[in-house]
């Protein structure tokens, strides 16, 4: 019963945290560019306005995939909050991403297809790193369960710092921040009209925004696992990583999809594999 309550609280509270974080993102970005910026609650205004727009659906299948995107994102957040299997969480997150890509492919717009192709390239860049993170946590703790991380007194960031750096790269890609905002772009940028978001309009775009808020909370939660004991240090680390992403967003130029795959594999896979190999040698599992 307690777990049910926890899951419900997480599902209800996460969008508020995510929305506020998105608002802080826009405010700080504006300040970095020498502007005043919108109010912190601006993402909520955007969300409710989009809910009130008329519905234009270009295909019925698109809606199924969009709801799938939301559903699997919520599932992985619940898995995190209930301290379940991190491998399952990574797969659920991957399935959510696939749902989003299929939503992009489900209509005939060439811009949407371009965006969906690029989203696939983004997934190609970050999924191996996330998988390596799960494996490294297994190598360290001997279990995929997140609850084991909380029982361990040594913070994960000490043996797993290379994976942590790789995770910051993943965070940049997942939050669609500047060197890697390949498949779509945030406010006032344009990427092939709007990339994968081109055909999502009105309430359906609001659905995508909602899922992105869940995604922010989920990813920052994953980052905070690296200092799970006590958790408030981990949350501070996660928020610091979030602010770091804004700085990266504002100082970096946007690059091509091929460059993104090369860099994220060069950094993420090398750091991840080396870290994993070290853990296995030290623990003598192999």
């Amino acid at each position: 019963m307690n777990q049910w309550l926890l899951a419900i609280i997480a599902v209800v509270v996460a969008p508020f945290i995510g929305g506020i974080l998105a608002g802080i993102d826009r405010k700080i970005s504006a300040r970095l560019q020498g502007r005043w910026g919108p109010p912190i609650v601006q993402p909520f205004y955007d969300f409710f306005k989009l809910l009130g727009k008329s519905k234009i659906a270009v295909s019925r299948v698109q809606l199924v995939w969009l709801y799938g995107y939301l559903f699997f994102m919520i599932t992985s957040l619940v898995l995190l909050v209930l301290q379940q299997d991190i491998l399952l969480l990574v797969f659920m997150l991957g399935f959510a991403g696939i749902c989003f890509v299929l939503a992009g492919f489900s209509c005939k717009s060439p811009y949407s297809h371009f965006g969906a192709n690029r989203e696939l390239l983004q997934m190609l860049s970050y999924e191996p790193v996330l998988l390596l993170m799960a494996l490294a946590i297994y190598a360290q703790n001997g279990s995929f369960m997140i609850s084991e991380i909380f029982k361990n007194n040594t913070p994960l960031i000490v043996p797993l710092w290379p994976i942590f750096i790789a995770l910051i790269y993943v965070l940049t890609i997942k939050l669609r921040k500047s060197p890697f905002d390949i498949s779509t772009s945030h406010h006032a940028h344009q990427e092939l009209v709007k990339g994968i978001m081109t055909e999502f309009s009105g309430p359906y775009y609001a659905l995508v925004l909602l899922t992105e808020w869940y995604e922010i909370v989920l990813l920052l939660g994953l980052v905070s696992l690296f200092w799970a004991n006590p958790l408030w240090v981990g949350i501070i680390i996660a928020l610091a990583a979030f602010v770091l992403e804004m700085f990266i967003d504002n100082i970096a130029a946007r690059m091509t999809a091929g460059w993104m795959v090369k860099v994220s594999w060069a950094v993420g896979l090398i750091l991840g594999v080396l870290n994993l190999a070290y853990l296995y040698l030290k623990k003598g599992v192999l």
Partner: protein, 145 residues
């Protein structure tokens, strides 16, 4: 439905379309985004996508080629939508009004809510035009702005 009505006023996303403008007004529209005017503090964001837009900002007189494109873009914007004609050319055809290829102002093709005259219209006038459009929307919905 109160929060949705309020949000419509607080978060107008504009899309800018250039009919056959001399680019004078276009540069002024883009100037609104700069740190000097910073329209994002009102929640106004320049969208490149008609499906996400609320306010269509049109510059330049309509010619026979762009009339179809303008109508198409207007139809792609989900309701409720507002149209702001920026610059003398977009209001009436301006100095081009008698040209063989010019149909006239934007209102020859789509319904226009606010006219912002000027050659080129100043950024302050453009912001004022968008705010007027929002006030009109607020009045239609019976929301205080």
């Amino acid at each position: 439905m109160g929060i949705i009505h309020t949000s419509r006023i607080k978060s107008p996303w504009i899309m800018h379309f250039d009919n056959s403008s001399c680019n004078g007004c276009d540069i002024e529209v883009l100037a609104c985004l700069t740190p000097l005017y910073d329209i994002e503090r009102f929640g106004i964001v320049n969208m490149g996508n008609p499906k996400h837009a609320d306010v269509l900002v049109v510059t330049g007189a309509v010619n026979r080629r762009t009339a179809r494109v303008l109508k198409n873009l207007y139809d792609q914007i989900p309701d409720p939508k507002m149209v702001v004609a920026v610059g003398t050319c977009a209001c009436s055809g301006g100095v081009f009004h008698n040209c063989y290829n010019i149909l006239g102002g934007v209102d020859k093709v789509i319904p226009v809510d606010v006219y912002v005259p000027g050659c080129a219209a100043r950024p302050e006038a453009i912001i004022d035009g968008v705010v007027l459009a929002l006030q009109k929307l607020a009045k239609l919905q019976g929301v205080a702005i």
